[in-house]
Amino acid sequence: MRGTAVSAAVLLAATTAAACGGRDDGDGGGTASGACEGQQTTGITDSTLKLGGIYPLSGPASAYGAIPKGIQAYFDYVNAEKGGIDGRKVEFTVRDDGYQPPKAVEEARRLVEQEQVFALFQTLGTPSTTATWDYTNQRKVPQIFVATGASKWGADDKHPWTIGWQPNYLSEGRVYAQYLKQEKPEAKVAVLFQNDDFGEDLLGGFKKAIEGSKIKIVQEKSYEVTDPSVEAQMRDLAGSGADVFLNITTPKFGSQALAADAKMTDWNPLHVLNNVAASVTVLKPVGFKNVQGVVSSTYYKDPNDPQWDDDAEMKLYKAKMKQYEPGADPAVPYHAYGWAVASSFHKAMEAAKCKTREGLRDSVHNLNNVEVPMLLPGVTMKTGPDDGFPIESMQMMEFKGERWSLVGEVIDTRKEFGPLGD
């Protein structure tokens, strides 16, 4: 048959074509000269700086899609009123991965190869960041201040181009341990935790930190993200006779556990709620009268807290959000988070000796108690050759009335427990 012959010929031609070699793996960007000779300058010129971020704008985690709005507002403000970072106007490109790792890989490649960004400024979520960090480190593209609290970004020495920002879950566990040592040195603790890396990291940090103290964990119960409810676990924990309840949960389960605790009038432990579930939007459906006295921890200024009403940075933030992101509500803490992380980037970029990818990488690993006005007073960024965790201090807060109020001093886990990873 003629058709078959033709197709066979075509296939043969195709395989021959395939046999001839690869391509030059050239990068579109140039290199610097002078003192920083040979370092990469892709995505950066004397007047512009291109950054790319990957966030879940759609899908189950789309609440985090608010973060880039705060970042965008900050960069718009800096571009328009401060002449950019060191005179470079920041172009911030946001892509959606729907919280799916394969999409994150695709978008990372798009940003690096097609948009030719200088750096990935934030990828959100542990799975998405894990899926992309091999790629960014092979391409030697900085992946700065990733929005996840896993401890591996700072503990790994094979990925020098990736670094976290927010306090990691291990440190948060240490903060609660330190707080209990001061407030309830003989606490009997019941723990509810999410059965994944997040829950295990936080609980692991807590357990390690209470070693050698009189604090005891009397019972621990886990749940799966797919569980419909944690009520059964709560009933078991109530029977343990603990006087402290450590609530390591994501928002949905956090509010379930809070509601269950409120319902059980015969068990009234000190309720310690972890940071990711401590948003006012989680507490509201439970009823504010039911969550009085619950404690948690934080590291940046809450736009809902009236004590910051006269704070210069908070005022600036609210005014500029209104001006540059008029559709976004400045009271949403995720916007403030975005603002804080963007201004952290600003400081790190300014401090870089070489305005190159290498320069940024070295700069974020050499932060020396850098103050960021949107962070709580006393919380600073510090990194070093062996310390890849920018923020490791948090302050406890207690729920009073309709909002969180800060209590005590900032707890610096570095000072109390030494560096992580030991």
Binding site: R2, G3, V6, S7, V10, L11, A13, A14, T15, A17, A18, G21, G22, R23, D25, L57, S58, G59, V94, R95, D96, G98, Y99, Q100, P101, P102, K103, V105, E106, E107, R109, R110, V112, E113, Q114, T126, P127, T130, A131, D134, N195, D196, D197, E224, V225, T226
Partner: protein, 360 residues
Amino acid sequence: MSESTEATETTRAVDTPEPAKDERPAPATPRDRLVAFTVRNWRWIALGVLLLTAVWAPFQLVPFRVFQFTMVMVYAVALLGLNLLTGHAGQISLGHGAFFAVGAYGTAVMMFHWELPYPLTLPLAAALAFVIGLAFGVPATRLRGLYLALVTLAIAIFIVPLLKRFESVTGGSMGLTLEKPSAPAWTGLAPDQWLYFLALAVTILAFVAVRLLLRSRVGRALHSVRDSETAAEVMGVKPASYKRLAFAWSAMFAGAAGCLYTWTIGFVSPDSFTVNLSITLLAGIVVGGLGSTWGPLLGGLFVMFVPSFSQDINKAAPGVIFGLLIIAVMYVAPTGLAGLAGRAAHWFNKTRSNRILRKG
């Protein structure tokens, strides 16, 4: 499933050469002969051009695009399996993503824990998915329609917590990170190009396998089961065993696609294989064209490119745009994109024969 029947009708119209063609007297001049040859074999020529483009593309495109097309082929292989089950055997599955996950995790575990060389993992992952598909094909023999949809949905839902459970094997919710296969030195190919050609080879193999399968006795049996079980039984086809086999084969292709996925991404985590994936795959094959030859490829292109395209239109709600586009495609082309192409080809054939008639 009325859509699927329609879809094959169109395909059949495209696939069977019109007998009138060969009865035409051979044109005299060489130019006419060339034209006639082209016209008669346009499908082979189109296929050849497509293959040539596929081979030539990775040398011209940036790695990011090469990666995108690799993923298109990964989805196309998975959709081939789903097409076999849903388009040709008429069984609905909302759990195809679970078999995809079995292939992906199977490969990851084999490469991570057993350190098998990666080419070996492809047949093993496919075989593993085949066996599991066969087991889950049992309910398919007893249930139909919505009930079957529900059972398969349950598979898709339960795979995620299952993968999180056995942490020592699956890496828990952190997943497993793997080395990506690199090209042998003699090829001189970059890693992304090598992965592309691996995916291309598997895709071609899968397309040929499905083609041969459908042209055989088995293919006809599947169609008869889909169109009328009673009639099939009267003709001596056992619907139960064919349904079960259809499940197993479709799972096998999903498993092979999952293996390619692991090679390409180099990372697996339970959250990559949520119910969403199964539903996206089903949407992909329906949009691509149920029961059609090229539906899986078109569906793969749709699943890969439309979400990022809808993101470019509206950053605030890419999901909404994606949904609207699916509705739009189904409205314009109820038999899927392949059906649309088929109709266009049909129209082209008609106008051509009209012209020849007029000439003659």
